[in-house]
């Protein structure tokens, strides 16, 4: 299949079950909300290396926030609720509580599973804290030097999907980067997803484990490294003419959100200089969520039939 001269490989992205939380951060200005959001989502690119994957989901208008101030929503993804709780407490405590004028609220009020965040952070108040119970939710008021930090006692956690991905294979670095940037811009317009890597793009795609270092949980994916093409012992997946590859990883609250994001990303990434778009998988053995690129590259509503077995 081709899209504006770009070959779409007949393969699929393999993704995994995760747990997600949505945090709504408000502040006296959109800039301070973004500062807190950026600080909170720093060093959260890979759940393997960072214990959590996080990113800013969307800017929120005052009408969309609990306290009527401008803000944004952050999505965090972890392997399980317990791990996610620990990361929420760490990151809200260190990056939001400390940031001027902010307040922090749950963004998944309908989630059945709830984890305690503000109820633990309240201890920073050293018994000077107080709380308010409103519409079935408790909000903690923690006195700080600037005034008060308000944080919701519990946050919702729901099932989610992590590890959706697409690989952009281009003739040179500039073309790969331009296409990836365009894809990121399109994908970030979709609610319910984040792109956890720097600028939404990862240049260091990995394989599970390592060939030569036994203690490594992940190592470089030599099959997609242009500089290793032709080296003895290296099996390359790169077609002729490809000199740079960039990957976009996408985590989402549900399958539909990831599909929408990947569809938008593929469409935007089909630019001059891009030779092929493919995806990473483990043969379908590790993750139960498969996103077939040919389905996503078609107009919405059209799905290719499965190939005959």
């Amino acid at each position: 299949m081709e899209r504006r001269g770009v070959r779409i490989v007949d393969t699929f992205a393999e993704a995994f079950d995760m747990r997600a939380a949505r945090v709504v951060i408000t502040a006296s200005s959109p800039a301070w909300a973004r500062t807190a959001g950026q600080s909170m989502t720093g060093f959260a690119t890979s759940v393997i290396g960072c214990k959590v994957e996080a990113g800013i989901e969307a800017d929120l208008s005052p009408a969309d926030t609990p306290d009527g101030r401008a803000g944004l929503s952050v999505l965090l993804f972890g392997f399980d609720a317990a791990g996610l709780t620990a990361r929420l407490v760490d990151r809200v405590g260190q990056a939001v509580l400390t940031c001027p004028t902010t307040a922090c609220f749950d963004g998944l009020p309908d989630a059945a599973e709830r984890v305690v965040v503000g109820g633990l952070l309240r201890h920073f108040g050293d018994r000077y804290q107080s709380s308010k119970f409103l519409d079935g939710q408790r909000y903690w008021r923690i006195p700080v030097m600037e005034g008060e930090f308000v944080v919701q006692e519990t946050f919702g956690v729901q099932k989610a999907i992590g590890g959706g991905n697409m690989l952009i294979l281009a003739k040179d670095q500039a073309s790969a980067l331009a296409a990836a940037e365009a894809a990121v811009e399109a994908m970030r317009k979709i609610r319910g997803v984040i792109l956890p890597f720097p600028g939404g793009i990862v240049r260091a795609g990995s394989k599970v484990g390592a060939k030569r270092y036994k203690n490594m949980t992940a190592s470089t994916n030599e099959a997609y490294c242009p500089t290793l093409r032709g080296r003895p012992g290296v099996h390359t997946e790169l077609p002729d003419g490809v000199n740079s590859v960039l990957e976009i990883v996408v985590d989402g609250l549900d399958r539909a959100a990831i599909e929408s994001a990947m569809r938008a990303g593929i469409e935007a990434a089909c630019m001059p200089g891009v030779i092929e778009i493919t995806a990473g998988n483990y043969g379908g053995k590790l993750g139960k969520h498969h996103f077939r690129l040919h389905d996503l590259a078609l107009p919405v509503g059209r799905v290719l039939p499965d190939p005959p077995s």
Partner: protein, 254 residues
């Protein structure tokens, strides 16, 4: 919705704690009419004083001057009571949930010892709103009371939690012996000497209330452009950790 209309005024107060969604919701019209009320020492039927339309519901609307009707919404845990007129003493006492709205004036002991829910009185109110009854230790422990007009003495007496919003201000001894909780006044009020000034600011948590109250047609200021709240903590005679938040515009006008 079940609708009640007061038939006539009376001098002796009527004790009508059956006016609660918890009691009325599961009943048919005939059963509602037979509910017992106490007029002085005499037990009567609810229909002796009210015309009653509709079967039981979580929504109760009552028309008439109910200034002599006590205990409306006592112990209620859910639903909504709308009083088109005045309401008598002990409105929403011991309330745990739900909403009571009164278009006219309230009386003494509004929301006394309540532990949840929302009470709004558009007009004036009597004394001891959200207070503890004589002999009890804690007053209201949670929930919200909003009074549109002037409140008499001892609002929030022995309060232990929750929020009282005094849009029209209050008379004497507001927050006496309160241990916790919040009293917000949009007008200057006389303060007990056992309350200490803490700071002037715009609390973020009030924005949550502002949004909730705006849906009910109540506006409380939260934007810094207009002014800020002076925070007083007390009652130090207990000593308590309660707070009084008194709105002050930047130009000093109330």
């Amino acid at each position: 919705m079940v609708k009640l209309t007061l038939k006539e005024q009376f001098t002796v107060p009527l004790e009508a704690e059956v006016l609660s969604p918890d009691l009325i919701a599961p009943l048919k019209n005939a059963e509602i009419k037979a509910l017992p009320v106490y007029h002085g020492k005499r037990q009567r039927r609810l229909e002796d004083y009210f015309t009653i339309e509709g079967d039981g519901s979580d929504e109760i609307e009552i028309d008439g001057d109910l200034a002599k009707v006590k205990w409306i919404g006592r112990h209620m845990t859910r639903g909504r009571i709308l009083v088109n007129g005045n309401a008598g003493m002990h409105l929403g006492a011991y309330m745990k949930g739900g909403t009571i709205e009164v278009s006219g004036n309230g009386s003494d002991w509004i929301g006394a010892e309540m532990s949840g829910g929302f009470i709004r009185v558009r007009g004036n109110a009597g004394g001891q709103a959200g207070a503890a009854y004589r002999g009890s230790l804690p007053g209201m422990t949670d929930g919200t009371i909003v009074i549109g007009g002037l409140v008499r003495d001892f609002a929030g007496l022995q309060m232990k939690g929750g929020t009282i919003v005094l849009i029209g201000g209050a008379e004497l001894r507001t927050g006496a012996w309160m241990t916790r909780g919040t009293i917000v006044s949009l007008r200057p009020i006389p303060l007990l000497p056992t309350f200490a000034y803490a700071s002037t600011y715009n609390p973020v948590f009030l924005r949550l209330y502002a949004r909730r109250l705006a849906a009910l047609g109540v506006t409380i200021p939260v934007e810094e452009q207009g002014g800020a709240y002076e925070r007083y903590t007390g009652d130090a005679s207990i000593p308590g950790k309660g707070e009084l938040l008194v709105w002050k515009t930047w130009n000093g006008a109330a």
